[in-house]
Amino acid sequence: MPSRWTGRVKAMAEEASYARRLKRAAQLLLLQRHRTPGVKGWELRRSLGKNYMKIVRMLDGELEKLGLQVKIVYEDSGETLDEEARLDRARFLVTFRGPLPAADAQASGWRIDDLAALAATLAYLASKQGKASRSEVERLLASKLPSWRVSIILDKFTRLGYLHEDENEVLTVGWRAKAEVDLEALTESLLTISEPEVEKGRGEA
């Protein structure tokens, strides 16, 4: 006869299984195995089982306590896929949940003009429904940076995954920008930022 005892054992086994899979999900998402960070949905499904999204949500809850989050970047395949297939092809990675403290940003190794160029490029793409020709973006950036640096910077952003360039030299927002940049917050701050705020930001850094 299935007793209350059997039920408790079953619940404990289930709990242990979730804890084990949670640990495994954290390892898969945080440890860099490939050149590009994160893992694909199908890799998570293979390691964590069919209901891996439940584990991912649990991990996201745990990471929230640390100021981090699990980010899902869907692939733009142009095909109509069901949710399961879209998740299979999506990239899962861990990012900061909020903005980076100014001091950490300075230590990130990025040049200030690279950050400025990325801000201008992404805001411009956002204003053009996500795509614009490379020459348009080059003209925009050339108003701020030496023209010989513009092309180098755009190639760098493309290599890092912040931009994507197709064979017709059309730039779109890359997978990495989708994961790391809150475009709403970017346009908001681009429209509202003013001189005293920058001075204050520098003072805090």
């Binding site: 980076l100 801000a119 411009y124 701020k144 709403e184 681009l190």
Partner: protein
């Protein structure tokens, strides 16, 4: 109004194609007259009999539903982004300083977190590579430079009045401007040596150095006649700023005033 079956099918296929194009190419979904197309479907529906025709009708309806969904997303995105149009972005980029733009980016940036790690396997690979490395003392000597050859050091460049600073950019722009003007007078292109040769050897080297930068970064196209070996320069403002990496060309200079290349 009666519509012939062939025409009706063509009409419905056009609707399906239009919906697909809007979704795939990111066109403004409000370009589709959803109400008008629905009216067309409504009029055609009584004439459909075969399952294949009804399937087409269903597909068109699904496409229009997707367009309505896209219209919703479009309105949401535009209102979220406060109707940020390209002109506003251009204006803001022009107004803001580099630190201000960087500050705006930092407010929106949520960098990826990742952990780099070493596995036993990678350690074994590294150890085996280390063991196979030849001692430094046995490394071959770098090839000696031939007579007359020398590497251009920072000092040497300075002696030519060149340095990789802001004024260098100004010199590049001035050289490009001169090159464009001379090429225009000469009908589009100009012999390399006519442009590079200057009053003194020092100035010729400096000019050749600047031209090599312009060629590398796509401001100028340098071509060589295969029969005569003559080098020509053609300004290419349309590719300015796009580095060319397909090939490199060594052009020796001698003190007689012209090179061998």
């Amino acid at each position: 109004m009666r519509v012939k079956p062939g025409q009706a099918e063509e009409r419905i296929l056009r609707i399906i194609h239009l919906c697909r194009e809007v979704e795939a190419k990111g066109f403004n979904p409000f370009e589709v007259d959803v109400a008008g197309e629905l009216e067309v479907l409504r009029r055609l529906l009584p004439g459909w009999v075969k399952p294949s025709e009804l399937t087409l009708d269903g597909e068109a309806l699904r496409g229009l539903a997707r367009v309505v969904e896209l219209q919703d997303e479009w309105v949401r995105a535009r209102s979220r982004l406060r109707i940020l149009d390209p002109e506003t972005v251009r204006e803001r980029v022009a107004e803001l300083t580099i630190p201000q733009l960087a500050e705006a980016f930092l407010k929106a940036w949520r960098p990826t977190v990742k952990i780099d790690f070493l596995t036993g396997e990678r350690l074994r690979e590294a150890a085996s590579y280390w063991v196979r490395l030849k001692p430094k003392s046995r490394l071959p000597e770098p090839p000696a430079l031939k007579e007359g050859e020398a590497e251009a050091s920072g000092e040497a460049l300075k002696s030519l009045g060149l340095s990789l600073s802001e004024d260098f950019r100004g010199m590049l722009e001035e050289t490009f401007r001169q090159l464009k003007a001379e090429a225009e007078r000469a009908g589009g292109e100009i012999p390399y040596w006519n442009f590079v040769r200057a009053g003194s050897f020092r100035e010729t080297v400096a000019r050749a150095y600047l031209v090599s930068f312009l060629a590398t970064y796509g401001y100028v196209h340098l071509s060589q006649d295969r029969l005569t070996g003559e080098l020509k320069l053609k300004p290419t403002p349309e590719t300015a700023g796009k580095p060319r990496g397909e090939y490199s060309l060594a052009i020796p200079l001698d003190r007689e005033g012209e090179g061998h290349g």
